[in-house]
Amino acid sequence: MNAVVEFVNVLASKPDAVSGYKSFTLGSFTFCRDEYFAHVSWTTRSGKPMSHTLDAGNFLRALMRDVAWGFFYGWVNFDAVIGTVNRYESVDLYAGSYNGTMKEAEIDLLENFPTAQIRATFEQMLDDWTNEGFDPFAAPQETGSAHGRKRGNNTAKVTRARELAKRCVGLKGDLAMRSDTSGAPINRAFADVPQEAPELHPEPGFENDVHAFNLFAFLSRSQVTWNPSFTSVVKYSFMCPTTEEHILPIIHGNDRVEWFFQMCDEIHWDCGDKNTGKPLARVIMKAGDMAAMPAYCRHQGFSPKRSMLLVWENGSPTLAYEIQNGKSPEIPVQF
């Protein structure tokens, strides 16, 4: 059931007298946090109170991605219970609606919000609940704890802009290469990645056309995990490489086929049914491996060492609707 909620301003409480954190209300959902947990509560359609609890650090890591990616493509499951679906002008927020058991028990709730409203609420929640010293984009070994009572904030780290090349990284006027001076030192796990630039021999006047860059060096200097950038663009074909370490903080259910090309090291993926979460497959990816994620699945990756993953997306604005209408298949290829 999709209830449409009228636009309202962000509804935030005063800071809690003990924990120091504000609570937020979005439609029929309430979000509050304490020293260890984020608590989500709602009322079921039959009028019963229902609630869900997540570790505060995991919740903030998921919230960070949802906010930074503008609700991404399709489903951003924070865990097996709560998440969002991007409807591109609006966003569904749900609890239990894509959990087979909870859906069947009819204790789920899904409400639709104007994108601006849920974005503003999530941004304020992320900022209020993230303490100094905790960076939700960093690998767990590279940041402090999310736990405890409210202490300071980390606004700079939770408002990073997404790095999106329009044509190709390193071209004049496009996304710049990363360097020590741009605040992007080489990550400890990529200290052995060669940094030399490609040899370029342009004829005079072709300096911006004869162009190549060291993608692996670019990625070795990523300060974040599980956060794709755009590095090259062909029409709506986006190369979205990213550096991955530990667990993808969300379970992504795409509304289109998406492809993964593992460029070094390895990631293990759990794939499940998009609507129920029922397990479907494990996908073990090593350097050079390519795999598609069918549009009917949700997936979550586990990267034992920081690794380079090329996420390859078709960003066509009509694709999700073509899949819904059966005009584009849910599986990548028939053979």
Binding site: V169, R188, F190, S237, F261, Q262, D265, D289, A291
Partner: protein, 169 residues
């Protein structure tokens, strides 16, 4: 205390390890699982083997070995080197040799010798990604076998042999 030392594991034609799909209840073919080094090790030079596709868009694995033909394309393309060393030579192609239908997807062979102003060349190694600007002519040159991943649209030179390259069971 010293910081732990990490070893970044890349693959190559000479040495690669494949993972795979471990099915629970699903059809493994739906994941179109392959490996670029495996594909390139069994390919002829400069076959453009599609190993990722999404509507009109593809990623192709190319075994670069020797000199390729000259190609041109009406849209930008990109080549990422995954193993070895490849030179890319570029010519600003005369208008009459460019792709006539500028909405055409994918690379085509240049008919005859490419004519136009030389734009220069570049040499890419593992991890380097090169732009192949629209309406230029380009040629790959590799003294030793190398592996390229090309970001492009599916075209008349794209080869599909999914059953040969993908895990099927």
């Amino acid at each position: 205390m010293t910081a732990p030392k990490y070893h970044t594991k890349f693959g190559s034609l000479a040495h690669f390890e494949k993972g795979g799909v471990q099915s629970i209840t699903d059809d493994v073919k739906h994941y179109a699982f392959s490996n670029c080094f495996d594909i390139a090790s069994r390919a002829r030079p400069f076959e453009k083997i599609v190993f990722g596709q999404n509507q009109i868009y593809v990623l192709e694995t190319i075994r670069a070995e020797g000199n390729s033909p000259w190609y041109t394309c009406a849209h930008d393309e990109f080549a990422l080197c995954m193993d070895g060393e490849v030179e890319i030579h570029l010519i600003q192609l005369d208008a009459d040799q460019q792709v006539r239908d500028q909405t055409k997807n994918g690379a085509v062979l240049v008919i005859g010798e490419p004519r136009g102003q030389p734009m220069g060349w570049m040499k890419i190694r593992r991890g380097h990604q090169a732009m192949l600007p629209r309406n230029s002519a380009y040629q790959f040159r590799a003294a030793q076998p190398a592996v390229l991943i090309q970001q492009t649209c599916k075209g008349e030179l794209s080869i599909e042999r999914w059953a040969d390259i993908c895990q099927t069971a």
